[in-house]
Assembly symmetry: C2
Homo-oligomer: 382 residues x 2
């Protein structure tokens, strides 16, 4: 393609660094070649560290984050199973759509748009619906809402004999997440968000409670492709010999392995701290310009996806195009419930740096002023 | 990873050439960036040429060939729909497993192992079951059987108001395939076989009859990820504006685009002729060594996946390991119904050359002689 590399500060994908990109031009490996299996094993160990879990059933879905969500739902759910979706933006609804397609009896507990769910709301919904599975996104990339007290939800789920599925697609690496300690039964993340790996290969983990529910199914999982029992055999999760399930892309494995290695090298805690500090700097800059964050409560803001209200008189499309055309910088618009209402700025992995924060603030200011004629507060100069 | 690049002459994946590998280290693009959409459009046009179709609903599934099979099944089938699987090896059974998972009423018409189906068998099964969907693999990579007279099956399907799904994962580019002329309603191929692209991105095409069946569904497609109506909107197939469906991997798109461009440059007919000629040379070499092809009828042999009976006293694992350890050459064993019975030699794309045929014959002979002590016919010297 040639041309300038873009700076991807939308909601993802993020940029892959040179090391990751280079790895993806390595020669192709067969899906059962020992070298490929070794890379898969290294990725598994990496995911365990990133998720803070010891689950043997830790692997990747050969598909996007949506495929991870679908794999979680279709393995756990059978026709008529009651499932409760915590909704803090688009993703709870999407999980509900997917669960309904697979035949579940879907209910929702919804937060006011831009707010996290309260523990009270969740507990009441549990009492009303007595769900077998509860879903929540730790971070909802459409609203920028970060759901806290997942550990308490984990305890609640145990009391109700319910499985807890947590979507950490956009939050992993930018907020603390302790899968085992918090009693999360299934979690999956995006490869192309904070991890800065390639899209199309989605880390996922199931604990023993989740596997027990799957083992006790009355019916086969409706999807062969997402069947964790078969996929986990291929990924060597169950101590049995590897069986061909599908042809995994060695190219994506190469890329993901390097991306995970980079995070491991930095250390998860450092990674999270850096994202929080950069997001704080960005939020300060936004507020200094006289603009507002979409999520009113600072503790409920994601640090990876920063969602900003569009000021009156500003056309986000023009702003976004200006930034892309002049600076090859991506700033995203809204999604789902926030369409046409917000900018979304991703501080994802290698783009979570002070320099990138200052760059995006400067370009955002210039883009708004040049496309709308609005003068923003002088304080915004960094 | 470093190290020597392997020569992948198993059943796939095949090698990607330098141009394809290089393309995959290009900078990441967002899934809705104009450059990414342009690549998707080019891929669509390429697939139309390769499939010999004008179907607007031509796109890629972000998943392996298995995902393509699943997408075909779950979009066309509703609970209780009668589907008939033509079985010439593993893949008809796999399609049956998938269709059953999705709630269909599955029946089979089975060929004797190593043989193609006769038109009579298929017609009788149609009369018995009156299926809404018929599945057949043009080439079954587990047995090496090539199913001919697909055009006649297309006519039969029209008479029975049945949809025809043809799996061309391992055959496309190595045998003639005329989607529109033959009245094939759904077809999908592997990116990592003859096309020599990366695994994980699967070309698929639906014609209007297939779309009509999907439009008339009483229930939603059970899979969101494989829902062709949503995916086709993202791929710009229906003349409506593009809607985000999932994050497609720009890396895999880069690779697939280059792989398709290389085939287009060569011309489909030349490509097919080269595969047939190379396969013929290989078969001659095999027979000269005193070995036998698994498929007795020469006209029913695939040219891409060449399946050879293991001579008595030969351990295929040792042969395969010898070839890999000494020459970095992959020769595959059997799969499904042919496990432990055959070698499978892939002449896939860039490996379908006289030189590679002679190389694999020489190494196979040496490997068999060195691991089993058996002396093969002298005639086998090329």
């Amino acid at each position: 393609m040639g041309g300038e590399s873009k700076i991807l500060m939308g909601a993802g994908p993020s940029n892959c660094c040179e090391k990751v990109l280079d790895a993806m031009s390595n020669p192709i490996l067969g899906h059962l070649h020992p070298e490929n299996l070794m890379i898969m094993d290294e990725i598994k160990e990496g995911i365990k560290y990133l998720f803070q879990t010891q689950n043997p059933a830790t692997m990747c879905i050969s598909g996007s984050g949506h495929a991870g969500m679908e794999a979680a739902m279709c393995n756990l759910l059978e026709d008529g199973d009651v499932v409760l979706m915590g909704v803090t933006g688009l993703w709870g609804n999407r999980a509900g759509d997917i669960a309904q397609r697979y035949g579940a009896d879907v209910h929702y507990v919804r937060a006011r748009c831009g707010y996290a769910l309260s523990f009270e709301d969740i507990r009441e919904a549990f009492q009303t619906y007595n769900p077998k599975v509860f879903f929540i996104a730790q971070g909802d990339s459409s609203t920028g809402v970060l759901q806290s007290f997942i550990s308490d939800i984990g305890d609640l789920c145990r009391r109700f004999n319910c499985l807890l599925v947590v979507d950490i697609v956009a939050s992993l690496g930018s907020a603390e997440f302790l899968m085992d300690e918090w009693k999360v039964d299934v979690a999956y993340t995006g490869s192309q968000k904070v991890l800065c790996g390639p899209a199309g290969i989605t880390p996922i983990s199931f604990n023993q409670r989740a596997l027990n529910k799957i083992k006790a199914r009355q019916s086969k999982v409706k999807s062969y492709y997402f069947d964790i029992t078969l996929l986990g055999q291929f990924w060597g999760c169950f101590g049995t010999s590897r069986i061909y399930h599908h042809t995994v892309s060695s190219t994506l494995l190469y890329g993901l392995r390097e991306a995970i290695a980079i995070v491991c090298q930095q250390g998860l805690k450092n990674m999270i701290r850096r994202h929080i500090e950069c997001s704080y700097r960005l939020q300060k800059g936004i507020e200094n310009m006289g603009m507002e964050m979409f999520v009113p409560e600072p503790n409920h803001r994601m640090s990876s996806i920063n969602v900003i209200k569009i000021p009156n008189g500003v056309d986000w499309r023009k702003v976004s195009q200006y930034a892309m055309n002049k600076y090859f910088l991506e700033i995203a618009g809204g999604l789902g419930p926030t369409v046409d209402q917000v900018f979304r700025i991703g501080l994802l992995g290698e783009n979570a740096t002070e320099e990138k924060v200052d760059l995006v603030l400067t370009i955002l200011r210039e883009a708004i002023q040049n496309t709308s004629g609005i003068t923003l507060n002088e304080r915004s100069k960094i």
